[in-house]
C-alpha cells in the first residue's frame, strides 16, 4: 500500500501553549502551522492539548500465566485509553520473563496487539528467586532487546547479586530497576507502619525497609559505576536519600506512582483491600514529599505499577487480598489534578515525567520525541478541563481494581495516536491496529 495516510489536528494547543494545526503524514509529524488545509482524517482539537505519548516503565500485563487478570492486548487497550504509546511489561509472569524465549513472546504479543509499543522487562534473577542471575545477556540480545531488568514484586535483597547485576548490564547500557523492600523487615507486612496500622491491628510495613535498600543500592551502583533505577518511591526518607545522591552526581533515577501522589494510609481504615498495595500507601507527609520531589526533579518519572487482579482476589479480608491496583487509565488525570492543576508543576514538567524521561531511561528511541516536524507521531491529546468521575466498569483493563471508583478528577485523555494512526478516538478504541 502506497497511499499516504494523513491526520489533521485542528486548532490544537501545543506544549508551549500556542494553538496551531498539526498534520501527521505516514506516521510522522509533517507540518505545524496556524492554519493548514483540510486533509485526511480531521480531528477538531479546540481546547485540547497535544502531548508526546506517555511512556510507562512499570506495567504488569500478567501474560503469560494469568490471562484472567490481564493480557498484553487488554493491557495495551488500557494503556491507549490512558494516553500511553509505550509500556514496559514487568517480569513477574508465569513463567517468569527470565529467558529470551519469554521476553520475545511478550514482545511479539505486543506487536500483534499493535496499539502501543510493549517493551518487556527481564528478570534480574532466575525465577525472581534472588539467588542466581537470569540470562540477562540473552534477553538483551534477543529480538526484544531488553534494557531494563527487574525482579519487581520482589526485592533483589542479596547485596552481592545486586552488585553483580548492576555491573553485568553495563556492557549494553542496561539498567536495574529495583523494587526496594528489605524482606525481613516486611515479613507478613500489611500496610504502612504507623499509628493507623497500630490502631487497625495490621502488621506494619516500615518506611526504613524501603529506605535502607535504596541507600544501599545507590552506594552499590555508584561504587561500580552503574545506572540504578528505583521503582515506586513511597516515603519522604526515600526522596531525601535520592535527592542527596543526585546532589553527589550519582547515576540514579526514580519513579513514583500516581496512587502514591494522592492516597494515604488513612484509606485502610475501611479494611477494603482495594487500597492494599506494594509499597503501601503512606502518610500525608510522604505524599507531600513525593509531590515536591516530582516537581523539583528528585523523582524523574511517573510510572503506574498497573497491577490488575481478578475480582475475587480483592473480594475478601485484607490479609488474604492481593497487592496492587490498576493505574494506566487514571494516571494522567491524577498527575494533572495533583501536580499541574494544583500549580506544583508545569505542562513541560508533566511531559518530562510522563514521556520524555521514561523513554530516555528505557532507551525507547521512538518515544518521548519533541512535538516538531519529522518526529514520530506517538501522541496523546488531552482535555485539561474535563471533569471526570472514575467508574471501574468503564475501564478497558480486565482488572477493575481501581481505588478511584467514584473519585472526581480533573483532566482526561481524549485521543491517542500511535505511529501516525488514531488508536483511541473520543475515548473509544478505533479498532485500528498497527501492523
Amino acid at each position: 500500500m502506497s497511499t499516504t495516510h494523513e491526520i489533521l489536528l485542528k486548532s490544537v494547543t501545543l506544549p508551549d501553549g500556542s494553538t496551531s494545526d498539526l498534520l501527521i503524514r505516514d506516521g510522522k509529524i509533517a507540518e505545524i502551522s496556524s492554519t493548514l488545509p483540510t486533509a485526511g482524517e480531521v480531528i477538531e482539537c479546540v481546547g485540547l492539548r497535544v502531548l508526546p505519548g506517555f511512556v510507562d516503565l512499570h506495567t504488569h500485563l500478567r501474560e503469560p500465566g494469568k490471562e484472567n487478570a490481564e493480557t498484553v492486548l487488554t493491557g495495551s487497550q488500557a494503556a491507549v485509553r490512558g494516553g500511553y504509546t509505550a509500556l514496559s511489561a514487568m517480569a513477574n509472569t508465569n513463567p517468569v520473563a527470565d529467558t529470551a524465549g519469554v521476553v520475545e513472546q511478550v514482545w511479539r504479543l505486543g506487536i500483534e496487539a499493535g496499539l502501543c509499543e510493549v517493551f518487556p522487562i527481564g528478570a534480574v534473577s532466575e525465577g525472581l528467586e534472588g539467588v542466581k542471575l537470569a540470562e540477562i545477556g540473552a534477553m538483551a540480545n534477543s529480538a526484544a532487546k531488553v534494557r531494563i531488568f527487574s525482579d519487581d514484586g520482589k526485592c533483589v535483597s542479596d547485596a552481592l547479586l545486586m552488585r553483580r547485576a548492576l555491573e553485568y548490564v553495563k556492557s549494553f547500557d542496561g539498567v536495574i530497576a529495583q523494587h526496594a523492600q528489605e524482606p525481613r523487615l516486611t515479613e507478613n507486612a500489611q500496610m504502612n507502619e504507623g499509628p493507623v496500622a497500630s490502631e487497625l491491628g495490621l502488621a506494619g510495613w516500615p518506611a526504613v525497609a524501603e529506605e535502607s535498600i535504596i541507600a544501599r543500592d545507590i552506594l552499590l551502583a555508584h561504587s561500580v559505576g552503574s545506572r540504578l533505577h528505583i521503582c515506586h518511591l513511597s516515603t519522604k526518607g526515600s526522596v531525601e536519600i535520592v535527592r542527596w545522591a543526585k546532589s553527589q552526581g550519582m547515576a540514579v533515577t526514580a519513579e513514583v506512582t500516581p496512587h502514591h501522589l494522592i492516597l494515604t494510609d488513612e484509606a485502610a481504615r475501611s479494611y477494603d483491600p482495594i487500597y492494599k498495595v506494594n509499597p503501601p500507601l503512606r502518610t500525608q507527609a510522604d505524599v507531600d514529599a513525593l509531590r515536591a520531589g516530582l516537581a523539583d526533579g528528585t523523582i524523574d518519572i511517573v510510572a503506574t505499577d498497573h497491577a490488575p487482579h481478578p475480582g475475587e482476589d480483592k473480594d475478601c479480608e485484607w490479609a488474604s487480598a492481593a497487592l496492587g491496583m490498576v493505574g494506566l487509565e487514571t494516571a494522567f488525570s491524577i498527575v494533572y489534578t495533583t501536580m499541574v492543576e494544583s500549580g506544583l508543576m508545569s505542562w513541560q514538567r508533566l511531559i518530562e515525567v510522563m514521556s520524555v524521561k521514561p523513554a530516555e531511561i528505557g532507551g525507547y528511541a521512538n518515544q518521548g520525541q519533541e512535538i516538531s516536524i519529522g518526529s514520530i507521531a506517538n501522541l496523546t491529546i488531552v482535555d485539561p478541563k474535563a471533569e471526570r468521575v472514575i467508574d471501574r466498569n468503564d475501564l478497558f483493563s480486565k482488572g477493575k481494581n481501581t481505588p478511584f471508583h467514584g473519585s472526581h478528577l480533573r483532566g482526561d485523555v481524549v485521543h491517542t495516536i500511535f505511529r501516525g494512526k488514531v488508536v483511541l478516538r473520543d475515548q473509544e478504541m478505533t479498532g485500528v491496529v498497527h501492523e
Binding site: 500489611q190 507502619e193 504507623g194 499509628p195 493507623v196 496500622a197 497500630s198 490502631e199 487497625l200 491491628g201 495490621l202 502488621a203 506494619g204 475501611s270 479494611y271 477494603d272 475475587e312 473480594d315 475478601c316 479480608e317 485484607w318 490479609a319 488474604s320 487480598a321
Partner: protein, 317 residues
C-alpha cells in the same frame, strides 16, 4: 446500633447501656429462671475461623439463655483461609436465616468486611479479629471492674488501670484501652519496647517499659497472654527474661494496693505472664470474668437483635 465491630463504634452512653443491660440480665437470670424468651425464633450463628472454645461457648450460652437458635460453624484449620471462603460462607449463613453472625477470624478487619462489603445483611458481632479488636472482651472486663468498684458507676475516673504485656499483637488490649479510657479510667500500658505499637502516643494512654515503678498505684492490673512464639521472632529473648520484667509473680502481687484486682482474658500461661499463685490468689477475678462474659454477650445480642423490653418479658419460663 446495627453491628458491634469495634469499641470505637460505641458512644459512652451505648457502652454503659450494654453494661446496665448485662446487670439487669444478671438479676433476671440469677434465681431459678435461667432462660429468657427474649430472642425466641431468632438465629445466631457462631462463625469461628480460629479455635477458641471458651469464646464460642460463651456466645453460645448467651444466645441460648435468650432462647435464640444457635448454629456453630467452625472453619477447618486455624490458618487464614482464602478470603473467597469468608464471603461464600457468610452468604450461606445468610441464606440459612442468620439474624446475627458472631465472627472470630485471624485476619484484622474480617468483621468489618463482613459488615460493610454488602455480602450479608445480618448483624455482625466481632468476637476477635486478628490483632485488631475484641470488643465483647473489653465490655465484660469493664463489667467486671464495675462489679468490684461500683456496680452503677458511670465514670471510671477514680481508677488507675495497668494493661501489661504484648500490646502490639493484642486485640484485647486495643479494645480495653479504648473502652476504659472512654469511660474515664486512667490507663497505663506496660510492655517491653518491642511489643509497644508504633504511634501508641495517639491512643492517649501513657506507656511504660517498667512494670515496677507505679505498681502500688493501680486498682486494676490486667495481664495479657504472651505467645511463646514471639521469642522466636526476637520480641524478647526467652520466657524467663520476659517473666522477670513483665510477669505478675508473688512479689509483685504482694505490692498491689489493698482492693486491687488482677485480670486476665485467658487462657493463661501460668509461669510466664502470671504465676500460678497470682492466678489463684484472692485478687484474681479471672473466673468471674468468664461468668460475666456470658451476661455481657447476652446484653450485646439483646441490643443488636432488638428484643422487647426486659422488664415486661423477664422471668417467665
Amino acid at each position: 446500633m446495627k453491628h458491634l465491630l469495634s469499641i470505637h463504634d460505641l458512644s459512652v452512653e451505648q457502652a454503659l447501656d450494654i453494661l446496665d443491660t448485662a446487670a439487669q440480665l444478671e438479676g433476671l437470670t440469677s434465681g431459678a429462671v435461667k432462660k429468657l424468651p427474649t430472642l425466641r425464633g431468632r438465629t445466631v450463628v457462631n462463625l469461628f475461623f480460629e479455635d477458641s472454645t471458651r469464646t464460642r461457648l460463651s456466645f453460645e450460652s448467651a444466645a441460648k439463655r435468650l432462647s435464640a437458635d444457635v448454629t456453630n460453624f467452625t472453619a477447618k484449620g486455624s490458618s487464614v483461609s482464602k478470603g473467597e471462603s469468608l464471603k461464600d460462607t457468610a452468604q450461606t449463613l445468610q441464606a440459612m436465616g442468620a439474624d446475627a453472625i458472631v465472627i472470630r477470624h485471624p485476619a484484622s478487619g474480617a468483621a468489618n468486611r463482613l459488615a460493610e462489603s454488602g455480602w450479608v445483611s445480618s448483624a455482625i458481632i466481632n468476637a476477635g479479629d486478628g490483632t485488631h479488636e475484641h470488643p465483647t472482651q473489653a465490655l465484660l472486663d469493664a463489667f467486671t471492674i464495675r462489679k468490684h468498684f461500683g456496680p452503677t458507676m458511670r465514670d471510671f475516673s477514680s481508677l488507675k488501670v495497668a494493661i501489661v504485656g504484648d500490646i502490639l499483637h493484642s486485640r484485647v488490649a486495643r479494645s480495653n484501652i479504648a473502652l476504659l479510657q472512654m469511660l474515664g479510667a486512667k490507663v497505663t500500658v506496660i510492655a517491653p519496647p518491642t511489643l509497644i505499637p508504633l504511634g501508641i502516643e495517639e491512643w492517649g494512654a501513657p506507656f511504660s517499659y517498667d512494670f515496677d515503678s507505679e505498681l502500688e498505684e493501680f486498682d486494676v492490673v490486667m495481664m495479657l497472654r504472651v505467645q511463646l512464639e514471639r521469642m522466636n521472632e526476637s520480641f524478647f529473648p526467652n520466657g524467663r527474661e520476659y517473666s522477670r520484667g513483665y510477669g505478675l509473680d508473688e512479689s509483685r502481687l504482694a505490692r498491689l494496693k489493698p482492693g486491687a484486682i488482677v485480670m486476665h482474658p485467658g487462657p493463661m500461661n501460668r509461669g510466664l505472664e502470671i504465676s500460678a499463685a497470682s492466678a489463684d490468689s484472692i485478687r484474681s477475678v479471672v473466673v468471674e470474668q468468664v461468668a460475666n462474659g456470658v451476661l455481657v454477650r447476652m446484653a450485646v445480642l439483646y441490643q443488636l437483635l432488638g428484643g422487647p423490653d426486659l422488664n415486661s418479658t423477664g422471668g417467665t419460663q
